[in-house]
Symmetry: C3
Subunit: 267 residues, 3 copies
């Protein structure tokens, strides 16, 4: 199987296995990422109480940690859930929302990377730059200045923490520090709605739940997400109708569409 | 009036009385259930601070308790609001999201049932099974194994707590332990979006606010919700366009549609 | 430039400056107001942790305070953020959701008005009436009884706190206590979905971030929002398709549409 065929096969595997994706995520996107989980074929649960996260994650295929509206208490719950996930071999996908924007965000995300074994980190160029200390500027949750060399920045973070790093942008970069993939799917309309980064992270988690080659899983998640955005943009009249079409397209995404439309390269 | 005519009459009563539905609910569905409240004809308010819930519920036509993203503090607020609701005769509708999935969820929902007089409990087969201790398996918030005999399970829970129990599924079952109704409205697309159980609970609350025969109110709420789903599915292109059409259909749901489409039986 | 031309110019200024709008807002509308921020041309961030709000607001063009699902802890964070905003000259826009409905809501909003320098307060007639003590009745978050003379009520609150007050209704009233503007844009469908008041507040914040004449900024925000609603209503089939169309219309709102459709008067 070539790379595109493997992605199509993984997309089908998600539908068949219906992995539970346990999210400890931000208030802005909870509804959206629960829906994306269902549309790609998984089961969502949002649970953040310290009293239950260790028990909940034991049933999960993957754990999503997204401190987009963090408080210290939520970060503690993420650590409790994450440690249990590590014990059980449940892959963790981290979305370091707004790293670089405040000390709390940069520090909390670094702590999650240091205290947990993270399978995949997905962020924008500014967030990943802030975590490596190699530049990029984040305003709120947006990268307003990109890093100079995303491949190099991703490689460095991946090597430092023994993780897979995905930087999303006009070309998505995915690397474990050795292998590097690029995904050229996507659409500018993704910048006009909130939570598309978070939704991309959920897509990665769905694939990471069914495929332990996390570079491949992250690449597949981002290719499917970007391709769905391209399909959705075809008859959108603005960002809200684009979002409706995007979610429909994730649900409907077929083997044929992936084989014809996924644009993935090994770099 | 036959049963269908009574449902049509109740739907109109909600529109005329505009009951305030006080929700203490989960973060995933707050926006959706506020919208469903408006669309069916009520006024929504989401208020969870222990300092105000007793005052807020005094203005309400019904109180919705939905511990879908619970913490112990939120459960305490639910108890404060619930006790005041009981004093005032404001009906409480409980959605035991994820009961069976963790000890916190099962225990918190049992506690709400034990310490409060609940008018209606609505859950999926696994959740209601977990509360009775009669089987069903919940993964996250989804029933992945159904109970063998939903009518019997619903009857037992209803009798134990002196409440009305609604189990939603391909046929919805509603009982107070004596009378049993079945609702055959609904559509498989409801499984493809998050929060449809929570939305169904809000529909029940809207009817419970205007009709003290809670078996009838719950039956009416579920019939209207399922019928709206059937109408919505007719030209949906996927789950997100289905959701838009579902919410439009709830708002537009007319006497004529109910008389022609409600499929309700006394068992 | 006449008033309509100034509004069109401001709308373009938002698109060019892309101000960061720091929201400390309620759980119901976080997703919606983040999207509205993007659609009108700004960058959203939702951040409420006391540990980071002072740092976050320093990067913001405006701060939105919306205690719609308040707890005392969140109000404390609003005060921390607000005080820093005042020091830095970042305008604050307050949405006193549900003032009048409970003592916690009325008291917390009064406290925000007293301890902070607020640029614009936007509420419905009942909320603003409750804050002035001049009548209007709020049920949940809805004005079920309007104040008798909204211009007078708005003037009094504006003068008392040295702020600009906007009362939204069939005619929106905007005043700093001296100048008074009326906006006649809008559509009844806005009452059928949740969060439209909150979205209007975000629109005001986007304009306040780029224009220090806050009466003009608030007028522009409400005119654009109301006009987008009129455009959206043209082919909506119900409240959910209206919402999709409304958000699309905000994004697409052009100079030509504003010049042709804004209905603004100085009173």
């Amino acid at each position: 199987m070539n790379l595109t065929e493997r992605i199509a096969e993984l997309r089908e595997r998600v539908r068949q296995q219906r992995p539970l994706l346990h999210h400890i995520t931000n208030f802005v996107v909870m509804n959206d990422t629960a829906n994306v989980t269902l549309h790609i074929g998984g089961l969502p649960v949002m649970a953040h109480a310290r009293e239950e996260v260790a028990e909940m994650v034991a049933a999960a295929g993957a754990l999503v940690l997204n401190p987009g509206t963090l408080t210290p208490e939520w970060v503690e719950s993420m650590l409790v859930a994450g440690k249990r996930a590590n014990e059980l071999g449940v892959p963790i996908v981290l979305d370091p929302v707004g790293a670089g924007a405040t000390a709390l965000r940069t520090g909390s995300n670094r702590r999650l990377l240091e205290e947990l074994k993270i399978a995949v980190v997905r962020g924008n160029s500014g967030e990943i730059g802030a975590l490596t200390g190699m530049g990029g500027v984040v305003k709120g949750v947006e990268a307003v200045v990109e890093v100079d060399d995303p491949v190099e920045v991703a490689r460095i973070l991946a090597s430092r923490y023994g993780t897979t790093v995905a930087i999303t942008g006009s070309r998505d970069i995915i690397t474990d520090g050795t292998r590097v993939f690029g995904v050229d799917n996507g659409h500018p309309m993704l910048k006009t709605i909130t939570g598309t980064g978070c939704a991309a992270t959920t897509m990665i988690a769905a694939f990471a739940a069914v495929e332990r080659d996390f570079v491949l899983a992250a690449t597949a998640g981002l290719a499917c997400f970007g391709l769905a955005a391209e399909i959705a943009a075809q008859d959108a009249r603005g960002p809200a109708s684009f979002k409706v079409a995007l979610f429909d397209a994730i649900y409907n995404l077929s083997r044929e569409q992936i084989l014809a439309g996924a644009r993935v390269v090994e770099l």
